[in-house]
Symmetry: C2
Subunit: 212 residues, 2 copies
DNA sequence: GATATTATCTTGACGGTGTCAAGATTTAAA
DNA sequence: TTTAAATCTTGACACCGTCAAGATAATATC
């Protein structure tokens, strides 16, 4: 436990963590540099030693979001190594779960809160790694005949688009109640994925594990 | 031309229009009540006579976005009455075009900038009407064998999800340059839609009209 | 080890923002 | 015509992002 020192020692990470925390708790509108600084126990301008402006902090929070996604995806790819179908469903489910669990962080991460991404190399790298995982899963699905042949990157964008679109509509409250009463979110997601698979997906084949 | 009066006469609409205008020009971060008021030529608290708070103005802007979408969709449904396939492609294209043309308005409209939608009946009504148009188009596609049979509302959500996901990723800059260099946005959209149609879609069958 | 340089953090200030309170002005109702 | 309500203004408040100037600590240089 670090005692109160003039130099924090790990302020940049502490600020990022505080940012994620505040974003979860108070939403996008409630995220301010001053609050983040206070949460980290420093003065209201201390963040400027580590972030050029608020955009830079948001970029760090976005990077953290992509890192969370990346780790989920790579874990899933390892866990269901022999079963591309399962990889696809569980990867999509992890994406939707992220959106449901932490909507504000999800939105900031994937919905372009960062104006010019290319100014933040760490963010660009992490988006690349995440998309790489998606691509690998899609590739495996193509090899097993679950998805149609064709340019992998294009198909990966389509698959990502389906999942992202569903997750976005879900947390935006755009999916009607009459629909949500009739089936679970997971079933709806599998139904959506089923539209693009060559082999039918049966929700019963993918029981939900309540492990996280 | 209305002369300068104490009472504006149509301030609520003027504020909404100014809001859309400022949103397009300065982005989400640049949208402020005070700027909207100034643009409309009134004092900085005048909006409070018509909107409870900033959220309420954003809800009105969002409603306007859904209205724009609704009118596009209903026009397309009428224009290509006998061709469901064309309806699907052009409706999706209109959606993507909206996102490209006015990204900030698109984001505010469809990405849940409004915290609790149910507090704004006009917004709820317009989202319902828009989704109704999507449903009708999907229904026509099912009848013609372009889309699989099944619950219409569920399929409509899936289709909307695909298009929304693609549009969102596009304006978030998440679609790689190597991909965008290889094909047009319209071709990518049709490629995505082709993943869910039972009959293949050929981009050549849908030349882009540069009418808007 | 002493000094200089740099990184880090603080205090203080500025204009801009959402929102409330109190009052002025116009329209609508009684 | 008087009253009530709707609409708009001025003024204030706390909060925000950001800059400037200075204090403090860590690091580099001699």
């Amino acid at each position: 436990m670090p005692t109160k020192k003039y130099h924090h020692g790990d302020l940049k990470n502490a600020l990022t963590r505080a940012g994620v925390e505040i974003l979860s708790r108070d939403g996008i509108a409630g995220l301010s540099l001053r609050k983040v600084a206070q949460e980290a126990g420093v003065s209201h301008t201390a963040p400027y030693a580590h972030f050029a402006d608020k955009q830079a902090l948001i970029a760090a929070i976005s990077t953290e979001g992509f890192r969370i996604l990346f780790e989920h995806l790579s874990k899933i790819r390892e866990q269901y190594q022999a079963d591309p179908q399962c990889q696809l469903v569980e990867a999509a489910w992890a994406y939707v779960r992220f959106a449901q669990t932490d909507p504000a962080h999800f939105q900031v991460t994937f919905s372009g809160a960062v104006e010019s991404e290319k100014d933040y190399p760490a963010l660009v790298e992490m988006t690349g790694k995440s998309f790489g995982e998606v691509t690998r899963i899609v590739e495996a699905c193509q090899a097993s005949g679950l998805l149609r042949p064709g340019p992998v990157d294009m198909l990966a964008v389509s698959v990502w688009g389906i999942v992202h679109g569903f997750a976005s509509l879900l947390i935006a409250g755009q999916i009607s109640h009459t629909l949500l009463d009739r089936m679970t979110v997971r079933e709806m997601l599998i139904f959506s994925l089923d539209q693009i698979t060559l082999t039918p997906l049966h929700p019963g084949d993918f029981p939900e594990f309540l492990d996280d």
